[in-house]
């Protein structure tokens, strides 16, 4: 395969172009995704290449973007809708949660809803209100919807392809801070990275750290410091699909290490960390040597730019949690 160093933006753009090339049913819709190429340029040049019939700007209405995508998906198209920032998913919530996610269920399998909703999320980039919020926890109680969050360009491309191929609706959340933070050798050709599968980014023996999105590099940095300062070997697992979780990956890692820390920037209560912790309790409590620790955003609204850095998990916060779970 021909490799090219790509940012996550470039990898996603490349993935979308391949989808448009290989499948006539794929259409892209959203705000400012046409001529402007999306506010982050993920859809740059795609309208020019594939035409306004397949790549089009919509009026400013999240509910109708998702609601009409449901209709198009039922008809047989493969819509990929962009919601400009994840905070604005709230305006399309009814269509996403009560309609897209339930189409197969309420029609007794007569209809399905193979659509992808893409949306940038995540903090640390000094945006206005509701442009930085992490919403994945909200969707743990949305049966029928999968939630995918890549942490690097290679996974972003492969996971997006898998999301489009999936027979059910997928919410694909893209971390804004990771969009351009680094390049990675990424194949030009089509490939998929399976949904529902976590990835061991770094193997280790003493403690398991579960993270995703922008928290993967934070976890890796904390793991490096822990190795240096505490002399411990940390296993870092990138969940990649945050719902449904890769339970086997979580359980087998904790059975090996006996200790676990979960890291996410979304609020703590009722989030991915809570679900991972409950899962460990249910499946491998007796392997645990210490209670599971969570390093997360706090249970407050996402703060204004001037203080947002204090809200986010940092390597120092993760390191403190590692110390805590490593106490004898």
């Amino acid at each position: 395969m021909a490799l090219r160093p790509m940012t996550m933006i470039e990898a996603l753009n490349n993935a979308l172009a391949l989808e448009l090339e290989r499948d006539e049913r794929v259409v892209l819709l959203g705000q400012d995704i046409g001529l402007n190429g999306g506010v982050f340029r993920v859809t740059d040049q795609l309208q020019r290449r594939f035409g306004e019939r397949r790549v089009f700007d919509t009026p400013l209405a999240e509910s109708a973007i998702i609601g009409t995508s449901v209709g198009m998906a039922v008809y047989g198209l493969r819509p990929i809708a962009e919601i400009q920032f994840a905070g604005f998913l709230f305006l399309g919530m009814s269509q996403l949660v009560t309609q897209a996610a339930r189409m197969r269920f309420r029609s007794g399998g007569a209809f399905s809803c193979p659509l992808v909703v893409r949306s940038p999320y995540g903090g640390g980039v000094r945006t206005p209100e509701l442009h930085s919020d992490s919403l994945e926890g909200v969707f743990l109680q949305t049966p029928g919807l999968k939630v995918v969050i890549p942490s690097n360009p290679y996974d972003a491309k492969g996971l997006l392809a898998a999301a489009v191929a999936d027979p059910d609706p997928v919410l694909f959340l893209e971390n804004i801070k990771l969009y351009r933070s680094f390049r990675q050798e990424t194949p030009e050709e089509y490939y998929t990275v399976p949904l529902g599968k976590a990835k061991t980014v770094q193997a280790g023996d003493d403690v398991s750290v579960f993270a995703y999105g922008a928290m993967v590099p934070v976890a890796l940095e904390a793991a490096r410091q822990a190795q240096q300062e505490l002399g411990i070997s940390v296993e870092v697992i990138d969940l990649r699909t945050v719902w449904p979780l890769d339970e086997e990956a979580i359980v087998s890692s904790v059975e090996k290490t006996g200790r676990a820390v979960v890291v996410h920037e979304a609020p703590r209560a009722g989030g991915i960390g809570a679900e991972v912790t409950a899962l460990i309790n249910e499946r491998c409590l007796y392997s645990l040597l210490k209670p599971v620790a969570r390093v997360t955003g706090y249970d407050t609204p996402y703060p204004v730019p001037g203080v947002e850095d204090y809200y986010l998990p940092t390597p120092a916060k993760v390191l403190a949690a590692l110390r805590q779970v490593m106490e004898p």
Partner: protein, 365 residues
Amino acid sequence: MAIHQIDPGLVPFQILDPEGNLVGEMPALSPERLLYFYRMMRLARAFSDRIIAMQRQGRATTFGSLTGQEAATVGLAAPLQPQDWLATSYREIASLIVKGVPLSTLVYSFRGYTPPNWPAETRCLPYQIVIGTQIPHAVGLAMAARIAGDPVVAVGVCGDGATSEGDFNEALNFAGVFRAPVVIIVQNNGWAISVPRHRQSAAPTLAARGVGFGVPAALVDGNDILAVYETVRQAVERARAGDGPTLIELLTYRLGSHTTADDASRYRDPAEVEAWRAKDPIARLQKFLRRRDLLSEEQDEEIGASVLAEIDAAVREAEAMPPMAPDSFFDYVSATLPPRLQEQRAELLRFVAPSPSQRQPGERR
């Protein structure tokens, strides 16, 4: 009369033409009041330029240009009484200034902080970022005034893009059903980021939306401050008199990029921008005032200097205000902080190095 019970048609209501000629009936406005309008428009433009310059220097966060929309934003706020409410987006900062929100409060917010003293007595809600969501609030404020029997009017303002949102349309419907004393104003500046107005709605005007909801409407030249002022004044009067809501579309233009994070040259024809530059709302009032001998060249220069001095002072004041404390985002989550959040706050503070001012004298770093 600019307000129509049925479709307001396609010809915008105008009092001053782009050359500053009086082409309609002059509203009852004193020379002092006209000069006040002019000064506030100059202030709005200079303020916008200043915050954008500060953003480029890393002293301010993302900011949406106000340039080109000064007649609309100053004119819509001018007829309001202190007891009236105002719910706007980020594009109506000048309306907030006219309604009494201090410049320094706004500058502090554009530094990326929550102002510690948002002036609730101005009855301005904090400017809204989530498109269209403020319009139901304005209608609700008006419904409350009606329930309470108070002679209070609410004004809700949003952009052309916002009229596509469910919230906008649901709120307009409520306004009609409950005969709410509300004025709903659409600043149609031609664009919603890169999406042109004709891609938001197939209707020839956004004011035409009123008919379907049984709400009287007006289509107004939004770069003509006299037309804006006069139409909003009539709508506010109607609302206060118990005659119900009005929808007003102000035709204006966003001369700048959407925000400091946007580059309009990617999607916009420069010829269109130039055509609108010729309809500059500030130049229009300036020509009118000059022709009537209400504004000498000296006075004009004085106004320019005084708005800059006012902005300088506000920026100094806002930059002298202390940054928010690291744990300040735990404030105001709810009336009282639950124990769980108190613990989280303490947890955060363990990771915050004390700032120099918080350190005790002689304390080591």
